[in-house]
Symmetry: C2
Subunit: 512 residues, 2 copies
């Protein structure tokens, strides 16, 4: 017979059973007056606070901690600046910022870094004055540049522990159920922030649109949210989508786009059920329009479009040319309207998008990816992070993730930009490794990675101007001359992490 023990409601229960091991007897710890009976039955209320300062104090933010932000509000983001202002007023120092990316709305960080409020950055990229000053040694620590997939991986794996995540919500209720699809500052998918919410120790929703419970759709559920901070405005809608859907009329860009679409067609991949991702540049969007015409003429219906979603991709969805869109970041108002209204315009988190530790992320199953480049070299390595003057002025984004995953990864770029060669001997910073890139399309010719001879044969057969990538480099240099590299010092201002957590390159400080 089993040994028994009496619990606090007066019943005998076993001391030990096979399925549980030692049995914990039921305990009445609460008081009836407080309604809950045990600690488990406690009511979790009072999440809403009226100021960011209160939220920060309540979250227990301390010197030396790591905080996170997401950049779905892009150039219109007001959350990072307002949170940092409140943190500064509270006198908290020595913070690491783990951001999904940093934009032109984040130049306030320069001052916070100078004053020791922020001492370390992890981000997909940065631009403008912040990039320039970081490149000149603003920080004492190296910035960790991560891809969108790599960031999700790092957070999931515990390479970075987020103490407090600040999450902008254009719609949120008092328990913290939230989305980015409703409200005056609607920005669409919360893809990057969804990962932060799952793993951060404390989660603060920052909203300018507190709605009646329950908020819906639920992009991030109440079970992950500690605090809801209500503020006046989270973002400037005018700046949020700026330039994302520029419709190019440049003959040069249209030429590149036309070549790229011919590469797509010649590859044989454009058939029923194919998948596709494009960036937001003028060339990328022009390729989508060429693709659309081809799909319509040939009655082809694709499977999915993914990544950052623009109105241009939404047009194809609405015309029935794709079964669905998988959206980690919504780029403009039209796309926000679509994710709100179209069931097959699907929000996905950054893990589903590109985290290689999951049981199958979307980027690894892509057919076609159209990529941009700041530089590409004769080994097909791509730089999207540093400018010819050595300054950090871009972002890894999903570039290395999608290039690695796509069956056909096409870099579209002009041969030169503002008298600077784009096809070069050796890129300044390797962001995406050459073996991930299949084709480089310029206005003067198309180079195919020698690892892909079958594709090269197809393109030649289709009558496309296929050239050796070294020829493209030579043409570029013949226009611009071979530029003098900027002068670098010996301090490492950044490391470029590949999506798997290894380091693929480093960035040294620029000396003027």
């Amino acid at each position: 017979m089993k040994k028994l023990q009496k619990n606090q409601i007066g019943r005998e229960v076993p001391e030990h059973i096979q399925q549980m091991g030692d049995v914990k007897p039921y305990i009445r710890s609460g008081k009836r007056k407080e309604k809950y009976i045990t600690e488990s039955d406690k009511v979790y209320t009072g999440k809403v606070v009226g100021s960011l300062k209160e939220a920060i104090v309540k979250a227990g933010l301390q010197d030396g901690m790591t905080i996170s932000f997401h950049h779905h509000l892009r150039a219109g983001d007001m959350v990072l600046p307002k949170v940092m202002e409140a943190i500064d007023e509270l006198g908290i120092k020595d913070l690491t910022i783990c951001a999904s990316s940093l934009t032109s709305s984040h130049e306030c960080l320069i001052d916070y870094i100078k004053r020791g409020v922020v001492t370390s950055l992890q981000t997909s990229g940065m631009r403008g004055e912040l990039g320039k000053q970081v490149s000149r040694g603003l920080l004492d620590t190296a910035v960790v540049f991560r891809t969108h997939g790599g960031r999700a991986r790092a957070i999931q794996k515990g390479d970075v522990t987020i103490d407090v995540a600040f999450i902008a919500a254009s719609c949120c209720d008092d328990m913290g159920n939230m989305n980015g699809q409703q409200g005056p500052s609607a920005f669409g998918s919360m893809g990057y922030a969804m990962v932060d919410a799952r793993y951060a120790k404390k989660v603060v929703a920052v909203t300018d649109n507190l709605v009646d419970f329950p908020a819906y759709p639920v992009s991030i559920p109440q079970t992950l949210v500690d605090i809801v901070a209500e503020i006046d405005q989270i973002g400037d809608p005018e700046l949020m989508g700026q330039g994302a859907t520029r419709k190019t009329k440049s003959p040069l860009e249209l030429t590149i786009a036309e070549y790229a679409s011919k590469v797509l067609i010649a590859s044989g991949l454009i058939k029923n059920g194919f998948s596709y991702q494009a960036g937001t540049g003028g060339v990328s969007l022009a390729v989508v329009r060429f693709l659309r015409d081809y799909m319509k003429e040939n009655h082809i219906i694709g499977s999915f479009g993914s990544g950052g979603i623009t109105s241009t991709m939404v047009e194809l969805l609405n015309e029935g040319l794709f079964t669905g869109l998988l959206d980690v970041q919504t780029f403009d108002k039209g796309a926000v309207e679509s994710i709100r209204n179209n069931g097959n315009h699907i929000e996905m988190d950054a893990g589903t998008y590109a985290d290689p530790l999951t049981k199958g992320c979307v980027t690894n199953n892509l057919d076609i990816m159209i990529l941009s480049a700041t530089e590409v070299d004769v080994n097909f390595n791509v730089n999207v992070l540093t400018a010819s003057n050595g300054n950090v002025m871009g972002a890894l984004g999903g570039h290395p993730d999608t290039a690695a995953g796509a069956k056909l990864a096409i870099v579209v770029c002009p041969l030169t930009r503002k008298r600077i060669p784009i096809v070069v001997d050796e890129v300044m910073t390797i962001c995406t490794p050459g073996p991930s890139v299949d084709v480089v399309v310029t206005e003067r010719g198309i180079a195919v990675n020698p690892n892909n001879p079958l594709l090269k044969a197809e393109l030649v057969k289709a009558g496309l101007p296929v050239v050796d990538i070294k020829e493209l480099r030579d043409m570029a240099y013949s226009i611009t001359g071979k530029p003098n590299p900027p002068k670098f010092g010996e301090n490492i201002i950044g490391v470029v992490e590949y999506r798997d957590g290894t380091v693929i390159d480093m960035i040294k400080n620029v000396i003027d």
Copy 2:
């Protein structure tokens, strides 16, 4: 100056940086022919298999492991029987089944237990012949009975480790994105299974409706799914919703319902923004209809209805009487249609519903809960698991979770059923502890928990027939006589776990 190392793409990177510690250099491990560059870039395909046997082998199921099932298909479930048949044919033994609940469609387990295929059960409840035989010592181990919230907690905390989760999907794509809302076997919310998917080592989607990628809405994403098994049919739609929305015409039940609704009104809790949960019995649904009339007359709009959702609650949603419904289990066709079409009919997982380890589960914020009872005793303890003959024939469900969380937890029950007293001296099995229960409503009177004197005063003021619970017991016994308890042996056939993981009661074997 920092020590450097060269990585496999030929770049120098630091050996160590502050933010990463030791730096892992980039490694090209893949072959170009296979497209992926490093292990991280590997393509995750071929999830679909044509039979359950193949899925089970691929999942690596071994003797002694734990497998899980969910019961959203209720009496129509074909997944558990078909999976168990395949397991048996493969000769795998000694399994623990961790099910969200067991229904009349699971009597096949009796034979599998007799033959050692299944040696241990964890469930919310069981019925019929299975319950009877378990009560007579069918298993050598004690069944662990868990609440819906307690099961989510146990899985999240690691009290139980699921080796392979089998998840019925009425709509699924080849990567494992799935939902229960679309397709011929649509059953609605996947609430219980969503927790299994997040924590199980291997996840097998079992579907009779493989759709083009991407399936939507995405209740469980591809990132959590290992294998997709396609079978002919996952459930019998005729049996899935059986009796859930029975509209009572019984004068006795209508009397109880009317008293219960008067208690609600007298409590003062029925006001704008209140929240409500009701079970599926005839009385519960009749209370909802009384409530609806009252809300309309008084222009009251509630916040949310939660839990298992019926068409009756959907009617109130569609009339604008609630802001939203939070749905962990969808009880009938009308409710399935609603979750598919109404944005404010929101799918929630069992963690959001009732897991006390989250940052705020829904049950802990409930205003009103209408509860059923197999027995209730003079200390307000409730039994919903064992019949007067000692047999297990019910389920904990969300009973203890909601009773503990709700501001007002009302038990509705007749004084007697088939000459068996319902209000008794001491319940056979304590499922929900008395301090969680505020009121017991019968057709012969209303008893208020003495811990809640203010409520008692309100009910008396409202002219309701308030009596001492001992009077109710006496009335019951005067009708039925005090029954002889069944004869129990000394073997423990089950333990009743409270939602926090402590054990509140045990169940001994019945001797005929």
